[in-house]
């Protein structure tokens, strides 16, 4: 069980906590992590029917803070856009390797 009020102490805890924050509110969101080997930036691709279609997929970036000591880059992707990504009609941002995505929500993270 993840305590959503705790400050994460490790990169993995940071990933698990942010996934629980973003995925926990409903069961329509799938979250993939693009792990950063230097363990500074938590990168998520989040897919949901609740998200809007976009011309260009660009992440929302936020720096580390006192209660979340990792930078985050979150890409919100509609189900339609995710199909386009999978069939090559749209691309992930530069440097984001689709083959390196690791599914972490709803499977893989204890709720």
């Amino acid at each position: 069980m993840i305590n959503l009020n705790e400050i994460p102490r490790t990169y993995k805890e940071g990933i698990d906590l942010l996934a629980a924050w973003h995925g926990g509110v409903n069961n329509t969101t799938s979250i993939y992590s693009l792990d950063d080997n230097s363990e500074h930036v938590i990168r998520f691709v989040e897919i949901s029917p609740d998200f809007s279609d976009q011309d260009e997929l660009r992440p929302l970036r936020m720096g580390a803070s006192h209660d979340f000591p990792y930078s985050s880059e979150v890409l919100l992707v509609s189900e339609t856009d995710w199909q386009y990504v999978q069939n090559g009609r749209k691309t992930l941002p530069s440097g984001w390797d689709r083959n390196a995505l690791r599914r972490i929500w709803p499977n893989g993270v204890p709720s």
């Binding site: 609740d50 929302l60 936020m62 580390a64 803070s65 209660d67």
Partner: protein, 181 residues
């Protein structure tokens, strides 16, 4: 030549770019108040651009504007223009759930207080120090640079990320999303 609405939109886009730049920094080094100040300014000017698009004669006297665009945004055609093609209700639900954020972001400005009858803020704001009681009921001064704003935590949430994306989309495509009657 740019109209007044165009000019507000140009400035709002610039404010938002600075917000995104500051928001991506280490917020322990560059405190969140600075990024949030630019978010407040961007949303205020974006809202004024929207209001002027719909009524070029409208007088814009105060910093209160963001809350006034809620009824403009909360329409199925706007939802679809924002990209909620498959599920416009999801946009309505987001706005309904987070209606209070429009006001919270406005109130980051020291010129917008929490008093419903108007007046400036005498409490937390992103620009000037304020006095308040600590947990021991002592009156002390707070500096925005050392204060943790609820808005900051809200914007890291799933809805917060969507909210910021809506603002980014509005800024980038306002003329096609909001059209005069």
């Amino acid at each position: 030549m740019a109209s007044q609405a165009d000019a507000f939109l140009i400035q709002a886009r610039s404010d938002f770019r600075v917000f995104e730049l500051l928001w991506a920094q280490d917020l322990n080094t560059y405190p969140e108040c600075h990024a949030l100040q630019h978010l407040q300014m961007a949303t205020e000017k974006m809202s004024k651009a929207m209001l002027l698009t719909l009524d070029p004669e409208r007088e814009l006297m105060s910093h209160v504007a963001f809350r006034e665009v809620v009824p403009i945004l909360n329409r199925p055609d706007i939802a679809r223009r924002l990209g909620y093609n498959q599920n416009p209700k999801a946009f309505r639900d987001l706005i309904d759930r987070r209606r209070s954020w429009f006001r919270s972001i406005e109130q980051l400005s020291p010129s917008v207080g929490t008093n419903p009858h108007g007046g400036g803020s005498e409490g937390p704001n992103v620009e000037y120090p304020w006095q308040a009681r600590d947990i021991h009921t002592r009156v002390i001064w707070y500096a925005p640079a050392e204060y943790n704003f609820d808005v900051s935590k809200d914007m890291r949430s799933r809805d917060g990320q969507q909210f910021l994306l809506v603002i980014r989309q509005l800024l980038e495509r306002l003329p096609e999303i909001i059209q005069p009657a």
